[in-house]
Amino acid sequence: MADGIRDKVAILGMGCTKFGERWESSAEDLIVEAFGECLDDAGIEKKQIQMAWLGTCYSGLHMGKSSIPLGMTLKLPYIPITRVENFCGTASEALKGACYAVAAGVCDIALALGVEKLKDAGYGGLPVAGAFGYMDFLRGANYSAPGLFAQLATAYAAKFGIEMARIKDAIAHVSVKSHANGALNPKAHLRAVVTPEQVKAAPMIAYPLGLYDCCGVSDGAAAAIVTTPAIAKSLKPNQHMVKVKSIQAAVSSGEEAWFNNWDGAGFVTTGKAADRAYIEAGIRSPREEIGMMEVHDCFSITEFVTMEDLRISPVGKAYEDIMDGFYDMNGRIPCQPDGGLKCFGHPVGASGLRMLYSIYEQLLERVPEERKVKNARMGLTHNLGGMPQANVCILTIVGRD
């Protein structure tokens, strides 16, 4: 019987570029930048990396398909590299591959690197790229990402009989909080503080989501080097160790999209992955034990419903927790301490590793006092790809020993 990945993998080093409109940088530049920081942090030589996973989604916009661009950009010495793509969950998928290889004992040290260069599309929002296949062109709705996620709000309002104005209050609070956190972070894409009034007065993007309910579309890269706890201990005897407690993923089965048993007010996948992740990590009460979270706030309403799907807020009570400040920086479980996708930015193929970078830096107490999460020992990343009725959810839980 398999016993999961808990405590079998340690994070030896991480790197993350500044996210944003990196007009001066190519995807290859971003790779070099994230990798350089990561390798320095790991304190090893490049040749010690035995396997690598490259995550990137819209590669047609920048460096093309396959793993080859990573090998050639970093001049990796003929090692096996896997290229993965799982929509916005891509970077977590790369991490999962690297961690599984280490946990399985097929290599000692592995690299996971996620990168995306979106700001060469020529327009705002995610590129239109036939992401859901050709049949969607023939018979799919004329949608964009904001509209797909906006429906969470109309479905949630209908399910719980809550007025849209109250949902707008709560999701405005979500965005205001993330902007406040992002404003303190020099690597974040969007660094302006906003007020609830500004958020609610912003132009409508997809009802009921306004501009400030949508995350930044950014360029960026992030990387992790993982190894066994034993090797980590030998390489860094005097440093806290951040170990992987769980990596769990769930992919839609078709039920949400085509069967009549889903209410559209949340993510089935997140709930399934969360239940498995807490068991793998040995967490009995996530509301008590999780110290901080970086969740996939592609839209404010996504963060809102995810609080329930992760079993942190009781069903139907996300509004209360959010408005009570439970997820604020000084709340019980700070959510998006680095600004989240909302403000740190969302270079699709890098985001999962950026979330982990944020938690890792917090657990090692490397962040300045004004944005430090107090006494956190365990953090969760929630990385989501796709649309509410058809998606992949990847959760990673890491802890400091």
Binding site: A121, G122, Y123, G124, G125, V128, A129, G130, Y134, M135, F137, L138, R139, G140, A141, N142, Y143, S144, A145, P146, G147, L148, A150, Q151, L152, T154, A155, A157, A158, P203, M204, I205, A206, Y207, L209, S253, G254, E255, A257, W258, F259, N260, D263, G264, Q389
Partner: protein, 487 residues
């Protein structure tokens, strides 16, 4: 007995007030003020002659066994495809049998009645049992032209057969002349016409009496034998004169619906016939005359079966189901008259992969889903493995029609980011009554009126326009269910 077994008229939901056109374009051509009365029906941005024909066909087939249809004729001078059988698209959308005859009738505006005549003759000769005829037009007048004022969009549908006939076919007479009142060349977008006075004096006032007298002679009838006379002349003075020449009493003149729809091309006489049938009683006689490239005249006698027809068959609920298109510029954009910047997103080119369209023709054009033989779960798109997690049966599906089903909005949005010439793009998850769920576009509605749990019906629409290749693709959208109400 051979005749009309069912009928329908379709009018698109949007109406453009002619005074609004004058306000926008009257500075260019002040003489159009004479036409600046009433409103004209305007196809939505996602409608064309094919989609309107399908809408009329669905209404006409309502309550009929569509499996009995063995012929489909489409009449239009605005066929979206020059090469590709337009009536074949209509047939697939209506879920009709593959082994049927289909033909496109085009050219002169009398093509609508000619298609009806051909259908009646096919049934009379017992070559075909049941023929569906749809006439549909969506002609364009150049901005500031008289035609811009006059032309309107509409369609009509007729099921022709020999069982349960509601209006018996009593005879016909046809003339054919190369009388060019209106014309469009091979590549023309806009309708052109010759002088009104000539069309009126030489066209309507000579050709209509000729065909009417021809049919009366042939059938041994008098004009006073008819309860209603249908003829599609838009000139009020000419109508008065014709009524006098022919002896048509005022109450027997069927309205040309000019103040409500406009001159609707091949559909015009058929639309007026549908309106006349809706008001008719058993024993009524209706004379239908078309005009354009000559004339057809057809005589019908209404039977007792007329009482079987529901309000959904007629045209008056469609006339009442309307909303103002209160923006002339939007009309120009919808009809692709005014180039508009819909953003870079609109420039993505996926093309049409015809082998895929062929493979998925039932699913896409016909909105056929499937139903699991094992557990009864309805699903769309068609699946090989049942989506019910308690079932999961493999290859146990029967085809199941969804185009005729009602549904409910489970979630929705109005999306200003998605590329559209009618923003916001409104769409949502639709749960079909009886099972099945799919994320679909909504159309013929404003965001303000969309609510969770709102009932919807299915409507065949243009899914995309491919300007590079000059074609469009079709799929189904959800439309708020409106009450069929003739009041």
């Amino acid at each position: 007995m051979v005749g009309i077994c069912s009928y329908s008229g379709y009018v698109p939901r949007y109406r453009l007030n002619r005074s609004m056109i004058y306000k926008a374009m009257g500075w260019m051509n002040g003489s159009t003020i004479g036409n600046a009365k009433g409103e004209k029906a305007v196809a939505n941005f996602d409608e064309d002659s094919i989609t309107m024909a399908v809408a009329a066909g669905m209404d006409a087939l309502n309550g009929c066994h569509s499996s009995a249809v063995d012929g489909v004729y489409l009449a239009s001078t605005t066929m979206p495809y020059k090469e590709r059988l337009n009536s074949g698209i209509v047939s697939a959308a209506l879920g009709l049998n593959d082994r049927i005859r289909a033909a496109d009738f085009a050219g002169g505006l009398k093509a609508g009645t000619t298609a009806i005549l051909s259908g009646l003759e096919a049934v009379e000769s017992k070559r075909l049992n049941t023929v569906l005829v749809c006439a549909s037009d969506c002609r364009l007048g150049k901005p500031a032209s008289a035609q811009e004022m006059v032309l309107g969009d509409a369609s009509a549908g007729f099921v022709l057969g020999s069982d349960n006939v509601v209006a018996e076919f009593k005879g016909s007479f046809s003339t054919t002349y190369d009388f060019v009142d209106h014309y469009r060349g091979e590549a023309a977008l806009f309708d052109r016409q010759w002088e009104d006075r000539w069309i009126r004096d030489v066209g309507f006032e000579q050709l209509i009496p000729e065909v009417v007298n021809g049919v009366l002679d042939r059938c041994g009838m008098k004009i006073t034998d008819f309860t209603k006379v249908v003829y599609p002349c838009v000139y009020p003075a000419a109508r008065k004169k014709l009524n006098k020449i022919l002896g048509i009493a005022p109450e027997k003149e069927q309205s040309n619906l000019h103040a409500e729809i406009g001159e609707s091309g091949t559909a015009h006489a058929p639309v007026m016939l549908a309106a006349a049938l809706e008001q008719s009683k058993p024993g009524d006689r209706i004379l239908v005359v078309s005009f354009g490239g000559g004339c057809d005249a057809l005589c019908f006698e209404v039977t007792g079966n007329i009482s079987r027809m529901g309000a959904g068959n007629g045209i008056s609920w469609r006339l009442n189901n309307k909303t103002a298109l209160d923006n002339y510029t939007k009309y120009l954009v919808w009809r692709n008259i005014l180039p508009v910047d819909a953003g870079l997103r609109a420039e993505e080119d996926d093309g049409t992969r015809w082998s895929v369209v062929w493979r998925k023709r039932r699913e896409v054009l016909g909105l056929w889903g499937c139903k699991c033989r094992n557990c009864g779960t309805v699903q769309y798109p068609q699946q090989r493995i049942c989506v019910n997690p308690e079932c999961g049966a493999i290859d146990r599906m029967d085809e199941y029609p969804l185009a005729d089903k009602t549904g409910r909005v489970a979630s929705f949005t109005g999306d200003f980011l998605a590329a559209s010439v009618n923003p916001p793009a409104i769409y949502g998850n639709i749960e079909f009554d009886g099972g099945g769920k799919y994320l679909m576009d909504l159309t013929d509605c404003d965001l303000d009126e969309v609510k969770a749990d709102m009932p919807v019906v299915m409507s065949f629409r243009k899914k995309y326009s491919d300007d590079r290749r000059g074609i469009c693709g079709y799929f189904w959208k959800a439309v708020p269910k409106r009450e069929v109400n003739n009041g």
